[in-house]
């Protein structure tokens, strides 16, 4: 009995000691995770600004850029606006300029305000600008160079594909953004130049604002006006979804020849579903890498000046059949 009591007391003691020490260790182990001190001064602060954050295309661009920045020892931030919010986009550019970053890599926007900011503010703060994916002419923006696809060539590729798929006769609707940006004009130019040799192919250019309602309304109108239309080209890739939605509302998508570019959220998914017949695939990852690489070269005075015509990245035609 006495032994029993001693045993129980010892057990209780041990248990109490264990839990006390355990909780004491818990309580006094400082696991406050304070952020690390930054050691070195930041050099080569680069900012990548886009209007279309969180689209697959721009995700790839920023991934490539980040990768390259890490390699080159630069710090890169990706800023931007969602859904082509231009006001916010321009504000971001201004903030970047006033923040005196070392270099700005930017999605070109072919508007007066944009060019004004680049020309006046960026130049007065001495910040180099590289446009990526979408270009604005250097003479109007004082950009150092352009990294991205040759949009003219992209237009030609699409035109070529249409001729192959549809034949040499037929009506083709070109969906254009009414802002007539530089890259869009380049694409249009490419298509038009290529189809010049096929007089039986009738090109119908349709312009509207880049918004969902307008896109659908225009498609509806076009389908009514041109019942014999055989092919659609979404020169501004954002219209792709609107066109397909409107067509599906009336009939099947399959008889139509639909073409687009990959710099839109929906393009790839639609291509996989077979609703889109072909898509120009660009090289967003390469664009990111190349742009950071060139910016670093500029900042380190390795290559001065940069090629004003731009550094072109690969493009190719992807057909629905290839993906499926």
């Amino acid at each position: 009995m006495r032994n029993m009591i001693t045993f129980v007391i010892v057990i209780i003691c041990a248990v109490l000691f264990y839990f006390t020490i355990d909780s004491a260790l818990d309580a006094y182990r400082t696991n406050w995770q304070l952020p690390k001190e930054s050691e070195q001064e930041l050099t080569n602060r680069l900012v990548l600004i886009t209007q279309e954050l969180d689209t697959p295309f721009w995700d790839k661009v920023s991934a490539g850029a980040r990768e390259q920045a890490e390699k080159e020892g630069a710090t890169l931030e990706v800023w931007g606006s969602y859904e082509n919010n231009q006001e916010n986009f321009l504000k971001q550019i201004e903030i970047a300029i006033y923040s005196k970053v070392d270099g700005i890599i930017i999605q070109g926007l072919d508007t007066g305000e944009f060019k004004e900011i680049l020309k006046v503010k960026a130049a007065s703060y001495g910040i180099p600008i590289i446009t990526v994916a979408n270009d604005v002419p250097s003479s109007e923006s004082l950009r150092k160079t352009y990294v991205g696809s040759n949009q003219y060539l992209a237009g030609e590729l699409i035109a070529k594909q249409i001729v192959t798929d549809m034949g040499t006769t037929g009506e083709v609707i070109l969906m254009l953004d009414s802002r007539q940006e530089f890259y869009q004009n380049q694409r249009l130019q490419g298509i038009q130049d290529y189809l010049k040799d096929y007089p039986n192919i009738q090109l119908i250019e349709a312009k509207t604002e880049d918004s969902r309602e307008q896109g659908i309304a225009l498609t509806k109108d076009l389908l009514n006006r041109y019942p014999n239309v055989e092919a659609f080209i979404a020169v501004n890739a954002n219209f792709t979804e609107d066109i397909i939605e409107e067509i599906e509302r009336r009939s099947k998508v399959e008889p139509f020849h639909l073409y687009s570019f990959d710099d839109s959220r929906a393009s790839l998914a639609l291509l996989k579903q077979g609703k889109l017949d072909g898509m120009i695939e660009q090289s967003p990852n390469e664009m990111g890498q190349k742009s950071v690489n060139l910016m670093m070269k500029w900042l380190n005075n390795d290559t001065v000046p940069l090629d004003l015509d731009g550094y072109l990245t690969d493009i190719r035609m992807v057909k629905a059949l290839d993906v499926q």
């Binding site: 007391i9 209780i12 003691c13 109490l16 000691f17 839990f19 006390t20 909780s23 004491a24 818990d26 309580a27 006094y28 400082t30 696991n31 406050w32 995770q33 304070l34 952020p35 690390k36 001190e37 930054s38 930041l42 602060r45 710090t75 931030e77 504000k91 201004e94 903030i95 970047a96 006033y98 923040s99 005196k100 970053v101």
Partner: protein, 489 residues
Amino acid sequence: MNTIQKKIWLLAIVVLLIMATIWMSLTFYNQKMQDQYNNILERYLVMNELTISSQQMVTSLNNYLLIPTAEDLEQMNSSKEQIQKMKEEVSNFKNAENELALTNYINLIDSLIETVNRSIIFQTESGTENARKALNEATHISDYISEMTLTLIDTELKTYDRFYRGIINQSEDLNQLGIWLLLLITFLLLLYTYWFSLKITRPVEKLTRAASELSKGRFDLKIEVDSKDEIAFLARMFEHMRNNINNLISEIKQKAQLEKELQQSKLLLKESQLISLQSQINPHFLFNTLNTLSKKAYMEGSEETSDLLVSVAGLLRYNLKHLDKSMTLHDEVNVLNQYIDIQKARFTDRLAFYTEIDESCLGIEIPGLTLQPIVENAVIHAVEPNEDGGTIWFRVKDRGDRVTVEVEDNGPGMSADTIRQIMDEEQQHDTMKGHASGIGLSNVVKRLRLFNGCEDVIEIEGNVGSGTKVIIHIFKERRVDQDDKATNR
């Protein structure tokens, strides 16, 4: 000495130490947490202040451009200084997670100050148009600064999220620790208190029990208390007292024993005297008659008879006189010879008596009438019943520290039982059968023992059929005290 007081002090100090430790660690922890909180709060406050100052500066600039007054300029300059100072402070907030944003923020502030300066320069150079443009720009930048502040604070919140969670978790841990600690300390204290009270009460209990035993009269139980405090001291003293009492009592008991023995010897003497007295009237008459008879016999020419009568008379006189005195061995031997003479006259040839005496030993003292009863015993048991008579040897020998007197016969012997009965002095088996002095062997044994003050004064050797040998030891060095007591009474 580990005293009770010390123990109490120890307990108090230990409890105090534990409490102090807990209090100190809690205070330390609280202080640390407070510092962190203050630090974080400070960041927010500084950033907020910076925003307000920048807005103020733009407002002053606006006022200044409308109506250029020195006051506005001064105001502007002061807020510029303030902003510069806060900018320094803000730049200390840099860490790995917000360094980009913070650098941008600081550069924005720089840009703002530059723009404001530019605007003032344009104003002084009367380029009002450009000044207004710069003001416009400054307004924009100020807006961006407020926006950036919000973003930064937002980032801070995100960055410090884990930290806050850590703090919350830690205070929960601390609560838990408090509970466990409370339980542990309570348990330990209870245990210690139990042990401590036991340490005090157990010895007291033991002491109480010992005291009650003592009061009941048991003095032989040892008092043991295995502690080292005042109680142990008390117990030691108590034990000492018990020992003393015990010793005293045993001394008293010993004395009582002695007293008893003396009393006994007295009684035996009385008994012997009584027996003598019983025959006192006759002896005197007998004595005189014997003397007369002796003279008569002598005159009638019967000398042998006369001698015999003298012997009887001498024996009788000795018996009457010297019963309670110690005599020399020499006197005893003389009386013995007279007795043997008488017995020889009685038994004639049937009794053979041989002596072997170391003359140097005859001076030793011996209680009166000890040898004669022993020899008489031998005569009664070895010679009388035997028709052919018997032989008795009498020897006196010097054995160093003692003198031994041996009386040996060749009679029928004694059984071991009988010998034991004789040696066991409590047994009153004496039959006065045929004894001249009326003194039995037991009486002799007792007196010898008392005289010598020890038990092994007499040995009886003998088996049935092989004779008996009685050996008496008389120590040369008698114990003085006992001798005194024996002779004084």
